[in-house]
Amino acid sequence: MTEPPTSAEHAAIPPAPAPLPDAPGSSETEIVLARAAGERVNILLVDDRPDKALAMQTVLASLGQNVIQANSGKEALRCLLEKDFAVILLDVNMPGLDGFETAHLIRQRQSTEHTPIIFITGISDTETHMSRGYSLGAVDYILTPVLPDVLRTKVSVFVDLFKMNRQLKRQAERLRLAHDQSEIRVQERTLELAAANQKLRLEIAERQRAEENIRQTAAALEQRVLDRTAELAAANQELEAFTYSVAHDLQAPLRNILSYTELLQGESASLLPPESAQYLQRIASRGKYMEQLISHLLNLSIIGKQGLQRTAVDLNALVDEVVASLKAETNGRRIEWKTQPLPTEECDASLVKQVFANLLSNAVKYTQPRSRVLIEVGQLKVDGETAIFVRDNGVGFDMKYAGKLFGVFQRLHPAGAFEGTGVGLATVARIIHRHGGRIWADAVENKGATFYFTIGRGRVSSA
């Protein structure tokens, strides 16, 4: 802000205002205002006497503004139509429309309602004129003879006032423009925001739709998994039932074949050449093998059909029974049986007995080549669970084939090397899985094998 000037003449000139803070192009504003300050204003001089008018014109010249002269009230009114005036110097004594009447008319026009009017009047008429004049809206009086300074001063006041007003109007206009512009900007931004918002909303809706889609797909997939699982369980059951009925139906005719074979061997032995007798023998032995196989398959398929009867079973008792019967079978051999104490478990006694019977008889079988046999039974902790193990120092197997151990008909040794149908371990595995437990094995070829199993709590569905 600049210092306001001290000279009385220019007292009314307002200091150049600071540029509007948010107005676009503030330097532009300064130029406009400067120009506004320098722009000339119009002064209307209304006097019928040209010599008087001329004298006043001369005085007013130094103000550097536009002085327009009108000879009559009528002419004045006409001038006022054409331009804006900062001040009107109005002679009171005029023929035709006098000053007062003119002032009245001026005041009646909206455009000139507030234009300052300075009456020019003679000293002698002052008192009467003044009151009338003021009531007509005059702002000041100048007495004739006119004192130049007085005239200049009074007029310049209104000139400055007009200029100030003009500046203010322009400022206001600028402000309004700027305001409009920023309004426009605000509107634009608002529209952009609305658009962005809309876009966002659409994205969110899209995302929600996608999520819903995924959720539905996941639910559908889950349902399909459930359906497939049920189908699988049903198929498994059908397979077990099929295995059972096939095995069962095969038993009777096979039994008959074996019987007739035996009869032939008995009665016709003397009649048959040695080769034929041998063939008969092979028929009998293969038939017996088939009988065993079918019996094991039947056993295997039955496990699925029967429910699990869990009771608290002392596993030591089971092991003792199995070992006792195996000892009877292996009378000639030297077998060291090491049995650690085993826990009591909630399980199906007859099925778990089958497990021990199978694992222990396998241990006996695969230690045949050994002169010193050690078979151990014990328990250990695996992943916080109690696991039972059966260990032997027999021929073991190649761990490469560990995955095939529990498959039906899987044999890891050539048929004939060790008796067996290849169904036993599959049966054991099924029993364990029915209990919800796990079974696995560890072996080193020619060193021995260890079979581990856990007896789970929960029942696994047909698998």
Binding site: E262, G287, E291, I302, Q306
Partner: protein
């Protein structure tokens, strides 16, 4: 009370099984095979002395019925059930079946069978079974 010989009625639909059991019975002098029927209906008719089997001379009431389970028209279990509605105090019933399913065994016992045997291929085992039946009959009251 023990008898010198026991008469046997055999109920089995399998020709082979009948033939083989017939041979096995021949080795046991204390058993006299008096008849063979092929299904449950015939077994009941014989035991009741009805229809074709009225003549007790030709179709004598047996000491022991050797009963197969799987037969057409009426099964062994159905025959057992019928027997429970009668009181033949002198009749022993032993089931001789190809099945060794626990539920078949249990059901037979429930229905009043005196013993249950699985059919065997080997003669030795058949002989052992007949010996067991002999003992059962000797000790029955």
């Amino acid at each position: 009370m023990a008898k010198e010989t026991y008469t046997v009625l055999l109920a089995d639909d399998s020709e082979d099984d009948r033939l083989l059991l017939r041979r096995a019975l021949r080795k046991k002098p204390r058993f006299a095979l008096v008849g063979e029927v092929y299904d449950g209906e015939a077994a009941i008719a014989w035991l009741a002395g009805q229809g074709d089997y009225k003549d007790r001379e030709k179709f004598p009431f047996p000491d022991v019925l050797m009963l197969d389970l799987k037969m057409p028209r009426m099964t062994g279990h159905e025959v057992l059930a019928w027997l429970q509605t009668r009181t033949f105090s002198n009749l022993r019933v032993v089931v001789v079946s190809g099945s060794f399913l626990p539920r078949d065994i249990a059901r037979s016992r429930e229905l009043g069978a005196d013993a249950y045997f699985k059919k065997e291929a080997q003669e030795e085992q058949q002989y052992a079974m007949l010996s067991d039946i002999e003992e059962l009959l000797d000790h029955a009251c």
